[in-house]
């Protein structure tokens, strides 16, 4: 008896997941993006075992060696070496760790802060709402990279500070989104029903309403993930993010700036890495939107 109930319960959970996957998989691009992203995660996890060389080891005999398939290239250095003789492939592989790390941390900080502020603003409305939203408007009024730069300048350069400032810059988007979703749900009958049953404000906000606002938040989180990677690279490029010799993609680009004309590979490969990562994540975000947004669902 109890067993059948458990089975049915598990079945219905599975049915929901199945339906989600159905709508997600209709979007080909999203599936491709997902596989690229998973590959990237694997690379990041097993980075120390995958790198052919120590990413910070400077081979004095091979400065600016071209990729292996070009004339003068060497099989040992598949994607060539940079100006101080470090293997680019190894640096890219190690860099994937940093990029994903930046993405995860930034999204977690921005999401947590954004949800808390957004739910409070949306649920209580009135003065509290006005105060929170005006502060967010002020943050949004600055060009985001500029604000991140200022924050980094105040906090001091470095990857951690870069992440904190990017999170602060991205947060208002989450606040706005959460607030709008909460306001739409707040007067729904199931919320009123929970109130009649005696639920307090905390329970209503975070257990009743919030789970029904997750769809737009998940989509926004994915898009912010790629944004964070991009911003971190930009800060790195400007010398405000990860500091050399950290193999961060943006920093790698910055170091290679002067060789753009002489050795294209030093610039191209980090750039392509950023491009592929961001593209893959954005494609996933697109697929999630298809799968989670009921308004887009074809009945």
């Amino acid at each position: 008896m109890t067993d059948t109930i458990e089975t049915v319960s598990r079945q219905s959970t599975r049915a929901v997941l199945k339906e989600f996957w159905f709508y997600f998989s209709v979007n080909r691009g999203a599936v491709i993006g997902l596989f690229v992203f998973l590959a990237l995660v694997l690379v990041a996890v097993f980075a120390p075992y995958l790198t052919p060389h120590d990413p910070n080891m400077q081979y004095r005999d091979v400065f600016l060696l071209p990729p292996s398939w070009m004339e003068g290239g060497h099989v040992d250095y598949l994607l060539g070496t940079d100006a101080v003789g470090r293997d680019i492939l190894s640096r890219l592989i190690m860099g994937s760790r940093l990029s994903l790390f930046v993405g995860v941390i930034v999204v977690v900080i921005a999401l947590t802060g954004g949800i808390i502020l957004g739910v409070i603003a949306g649920y209580y409305g009135g003065k509290i709402d006005t105060v929170i939203m005006r502060i967010m408007d002020v943050i949004l009024a600055f060009p985001s990279l500029l604000l991140a730069l200022v924050l980094v300048a105040l906090l001091g350069p470095g990857l951690i500070n870069a992440m904190i400032s990017i999170a602060i810059v991205l947060q208002p988007h989450f606040v706005r989104l959460t607030r709008a979703a909460v306001m739409a749900e707040r007067e729904r009958e199931y919320v009123v029903a929970a109130r009649v049953a005696g639920a307090g404000p905390l329970r209503l906000m975070f257990l009743t309403i919030l789970p029904n606002c997750t769809a737009p938040l998940i989509v926004q989180a994915t898009l912010s993930f790629s944004n964070a990677i991009l911003d971190a690279a930009a800060l790195g490029f400007l010398g405000m993010g990860a500091q050399p010799p950290t193999p961060e993609w943006g920093t790698m680009l910055a170091e290679a700036r002067e060789f753009i004309l002489r050795a294209w590979w030093v610039v191209t490969f980090p750039g392509v890495s950023i491009l592929i990562t961001v593209l893959a994540i954005n494609l996933i975000g697109d697929g999630l939107r298809d799968a989670l947004d009921p308004k887009l669902k074809r009945s």
């Binding site: 059948t4 049915v8 959970t13 049953a197 005696g198």
Partner: protein
């Protein structure tokens, strides 16, 4: 049928105003949604509240179920005056009076499985109750409202409108209320489902000795279910009496209009219409 002595809810001169701000330059305007309502509800009876949309029926329901505060007047549940604007209400008061909404699709949390929907009121009000007992009570309720045990683990979207309404009724009964406010509980349902839900409501009323405040605009349903009827018109009760009295001898003009407008499905009235039609053709 109803024990007239056992008064369970009294409403005395309740009003509710809404102030709509007229924007930056406009004047703010006060709308009187409810203009002083008195009535009593006795144990085990069904009191119907009839009126057109916008007459204040749902506003009154929100006040009775302690969602909104009244602007003035007294709400007395079991000899205890209650005003949520002034005092905090006890858990016990809260559980006395519960509500079932019209729209079976909006009234269940789409992210909660049915079991969780039913257990939630217990979880909130009796946090000390062991999970096993909570689960058992939810299971029993599931059976009482005519659903199967295996429905416990399903999500609301896997059910039809009628089944969802059963779940909503079950949730309202979890706290053992004395009064159920039914806000158009069958008007969104198909006719055959409507019959099932009405039967269920009758059965539950007998079993738990519940008092119903049945809000509806459908007089045929009211005639079937109600013991007494109140007719509401622009925030006021314009007529109030036993069912038969209202249906057979309406006094107020609005009640008369309402009765005249209700479609008649008796053979005689159809025959009269058809022959009238033939005569004019």
């Amino acid at each position: 049928m109803s024990d007239k002595k056992d008064k369970i809810l009294s409403v005395r001169g309740i009003t509710r105003d809404y102030v709509s701000s007229g924007g930056l330059f406009g004047k703010s305007e006060t709308v009187h949604a409810i203009k002083g309502i008195d009535f009593d509800l006795y144990r085990g009876e069904t009191l119907a509240l009839v009126g057109e949309s916008g007459c204040g029926k749902s506003t009154l329901a929100r006040i009775l179920t302690l969602i909104d505060a009244q602007t003035s007047g007294e709400l007395i549940i079991r000899d205890k005056p209650i005003n949520i604007a002034k005092n905090k209400i006890s858990r016990e008061m809260r559980s006395r009076i519960q509500i079932v909404f019209q729209n079976p699709y909006g009234s269940l949390n789409p992210r909660q499985k049915v079991g969780a929907v039913l257990e939630e009121p217990l979880k909130i009000n009796f946090p000390e109750m062991p999970a096993e007992e909570r689960r058992k009570k939810a299971m029993d309720m599931l059976k009482k409202v005519g659903l199967l045990p295996e429905h416990f683990g399903r999500y609301p979207h896997m059910f039809s409108g009628g089944q969802r309404q059963r779940i909503a009724i079950g949730r309202a009964l979890m706290l053992n209320p004395r009064i159920l406010v039914l806000d158009e509980p069958v008007s969104a349902l198909d006719l055959s489902i409507q019959a099932q839900i009405l039967n269920l409501l009758k059965d539950l009323q007998d079993e738990f000795n519940l008092s119903y405040l049945f809000i509806s605009h459908d007089l045929s349903v009211v005639k079937y279910l109600a013991d007494r009827v109140m007719v509401m018109y622009f925030g006021e009760i314009v007529e109030h009496g036993d069912r038969d009295q209202i249906f057979n001898d309406p006094q107020h003009d609005y009640t008369k209009t309402l009765l005249a407008a209700t479609p008649k499905t008796s053979i005689e009235s159809i025959r009269a219409r058809v022959s009238r039609h033939k005569a004019s053709a």
